[in-house]
């Protein structure tokens, strides 16, 4: 049984990441992921580099398919800039995409990580004017605003709040498993959302909003595949 923590105090390195990102106004994906890892959240292994050699040595351990992303201070919304390529299955395709990505505005590094298959959800947080930190949960991906199938709760959350959030979604059957497809591991998802809400309580004075989108959920993991942290000005 996974135990929810009672708090998610920021350690020294986490604070450093936030302080270094202050001037940009948001935290770059690799930094945001490093921060999430420092706080004990599940993120994919990744390599961040401009060297093909390093990429190859990373791939020799993980294999294909992989995801490649351009990391640029100029690109906040990656999808809109075609800065994310998923499902890359060969060296040839990867090199071609890397060549294209490095030409995108401000691209300093490429982030490569293994492609994980599962149900895409969004877990977000917002520092609400009236209520302080609130947590958003729903079906994730690039079309979240179209479906707008989300639930909102005031942080910090209790495990029961996570259940009621799932229950209130139109897509609740996708979460619980539908037409022979495996659902989400609720214990792991609950653990993640409750701990994330505690983490957000610690960040109250630093953040405007956080998008963990997508978080890819399988039968035994909920992996934060992309994270964007908007800092308060």
């Amino acid at each position: 049984m996974l135990k929810e923590k009672s708090s998610q105090k920021l350690n020294k390195d986490s604070k450093k990441i936030l302080a270094n990102s202050k001037s940009l106004g948001w935290v770059l994906e690799p930094d945001a992921k490093a921060l999430m890892r420092l706080q004990g959240f599940d993120i994919p292994d990744f390599v961040l580099t401009d060297s093909l050699k390093e990429i190859e040595s990373f791939l020799s351990k993980t294999g294909y398919p992989v995801v490649a992303k351009a990391v640029s201070e100029k690109i906040l919304h990656k999808t809109e800039h075609q800065a994310v390529v998923t499902g890359i299955s060969s060296k040839e395709q990867l090199y071609k995409e890397i060549t294209r990505l490095t030409k995108l505005e401000g691209c300093k590094n490429i982030l490569i990580e293994p492609m994980i298959q599962g149900i895409e959800v969004i877990i977000g947080a917002k520092n609400d004017f009236q209520f302080g930190p609130v947590i958003v949960f729903g079906i994730g991906g690039t079309s979240v605003e179209i479906y707008n199938d989300t639930a909102v709760r005031m942080a910090p959350l209790k495990p029961d709040d996570v259940l009621s959030m799932v229950e209130s979604l139109k897509a609740k059957k996708i979460i619980s498993g539908y037409r022979g497809m495996a659902g989400v591991n609720m214990e792991i998802l609950t653990h993640l959302i409750v701990n994330f809400s505690l983490f957000v309580m610690e960040l109250e004075n630093d953040i405007e909003s956080v998008d963990l989108n997508p978080v890819i959920c399988t039968r035994d993991r909920c992996v934060i595949v992309d994270a964007r942290i908007m800092l308060s000005s």
């Binding site: 009236q130 209520f131 302080g132 605003e145 909102v152 709760r153 005031m154 405007e208």
Partner: protein
């Protein structure tokens, strides 16, 4: 802060009474309370003089007796001075009617009165408000008595940021027979705000339901409100205005655009079982229902009607409001069937919603209600009582209420709101069973119980 002097005063000073202008708010308030309320009222004006043969006090400090509460209706620039006098005199609290503060950009003046009161721990309502209406105690609304329809004394405490909405809602409460323990227009809410009002009403034995009309919270105030609501032992109903989608278009993240106020507010209210009303009609229905029943349910309704059509209309409304109409146990159906009048035994439909037909008599309705309430799938019975049926007696309201009380589950009735059927309506209401004046209104009353914290 002790608010008893403010909300249940025995003596009151009205400051700003005019000797020349009868329609001045202070004069309306003075006359109304002086003539019609038990509160002993003292008129005050620095210039002195007379009003209706009564001498005006030049300062609240000149009043010999203890003053529980002061109504301040002087020009904004004089408010701080008057406030200081009240504090010096040992007045228990004030209602500041005067406008001309933050709402007109005069924040400095507003902060000054806030500081003066805070230093002395002196509670006040307002400024820029209508103040309070406590039936049997006091009424500081500066609206002439003959223009208002005031609800009777009852157990709903109502707090509104808008004076206009407050008065309008009181007319609606009165029309629906809902009584008020205290209504407060908090205006600019400089000192007493929603959170303090939750505390007051929670300990007030005369209040069973707390209702709010809210336009906006300050930074972080929503969280404080929720924290107080969570500790409160009584149901809280809230009508929130201004949840528009505006202002989120430029949001920089998915979450920010998904979690606009129109989404965040209702979801958090649900999370903490604060009963949010979508409109004023729901506000009225919710208050009536929760003033009779203070335990929430999951919403499983058993419906009894004397006409198939009413049952269907109710079922549609239940579906619309996500209220389940469960299948009744076969044992319940069998028990009811053998006890029905032989004449309707074969024509009554005993599936939920139950249709007893227009040929049913009191006993058929009572028996059905009793066994339906005993069914383990049913948490609440909706009695759609169309009084046109010849077999329905004038006693049906009182008799059905007794059944509900014996079975210990909530019952909600629909009876057309006409003078002719008053005896049936009173039969229910005097026995603490809420009566709606429409089928949908009755369904909304169950919705209130579902939105409240299940026991």
């Amino acid at each position: 802060m002790d608010l008893k002097c403010l909300f249940k005063p025995s003596t009151m000073a009205v400051i700003g009474v005019s000797t020349s202008q009868d329609s001045h708010p202070a004069n309306v308030i003075y006359n109304k309370n002086h003539l019609r309320y038990p509160v002993k009222t003292f008129p005050v004006n620095p210039k002195g003089g007379f009003i209706n043969r009564a001498a005006l006090y030049q300062s609240v400090e000149d009043i010999k007796e203890k003053v529980d509460m002061a109504v301040i209706a002087v020009r904004s620039e004089f408010v701080s001075k008057v406030l200081e006098q009240c504090i010096k005199k040992g007045v228990g609290g004030a209602v500041i009617i005067s406008g001309g503060f933050a709402e007109t950009g005069n924040l400095k003046l507003q902060n000054r009165i806030a500081d003066i009161a805070k230093e002395a721990s002196f509670p006040f309502i307002g400024p820029n408000c209508l103040g309070i209406y406590a039936p049997d105690y006091v009424d500081t609304f500066f609206l002439p008595g003959e223009r208002i329809i005031s609800p009777d004394k009852g157990n709903v405490g109502f707090v509104s940021q808008s004076g206009g909405v407050l008065v309008d809602q009181m007319v609606k409460f009165a029309g629906q027979g809902i009584g008020i323990s205290l209504a407060v227009s908090i205006g600019n809410k400089v000192c007493l705000r929603e959170t303090e009002m939750i505390e007051w009403f929670d300990q007030d034995v005369e209040t069973k339901v707390i209702a709010f009309y809210i336009e906006g919270f300050e930074k972080g105030e929503g969280r404080k409100f929720i924290e107080k609501a969570e500790q409160c032992s009584k149901p809280i109903v809230i009508l929130k205005a201004g949840k528009s989608k505006k202002g989120i278009e430029a949001a920089s993240s998915h979450t920010a655009s998904l979690a606009g106020d129109y989404k965040v507010f209702p979801e958090i209210m649900k999370q903490y079982h604060v009963v949010e009303a979508d409109n004023e009609y729901e506000l009225t229905s919710f208050c009536e229902s929760l003033s009779c029943y203070s335990d929430g349910i999951n919403g499983n309704i058993g419906i009894i009607s004397l006409s198939g059509g009413h049952g269907v209309i109710a079922a549609d409304a239940c579906e619309l409001h996500s209220l389940p109409i469960p299948v009744i146990e076969q044992e319940t159906i069998d028990t009811i069937k053998v006890k029905l009048t032989p004449g309707i035994r074969d024509i009554a439909s005993l599936v939920n919603p139950i249709d007893l037909t227009g040929s049913s008599v009191d006993n058929d309705i009572l028996t059905s209600a009793m066994y339906l309430l005993r069914d383990k799938n049913i948490e609440c019975v909706l009695a759609l009582l169309i009084p046109y049926s010849p077999g329905v007696s004038a006693d049906i309201g009182a008799k059905l209420s007794q059944v509900a009380r014996n079975e210990g589950k909530p019952m909600i009735a629909y009876v057309p709101n006409e003078d002719k059927y008053k005896i049936i309506i009173e039969g229910f209401e005097l026995n603490n069973v809420p009566v709606a004046s429409s089928v949908e209104g009755a369904v909304l009353m169950v919705k209130a119980l579902k939105r409240y914290r299940p026991c």
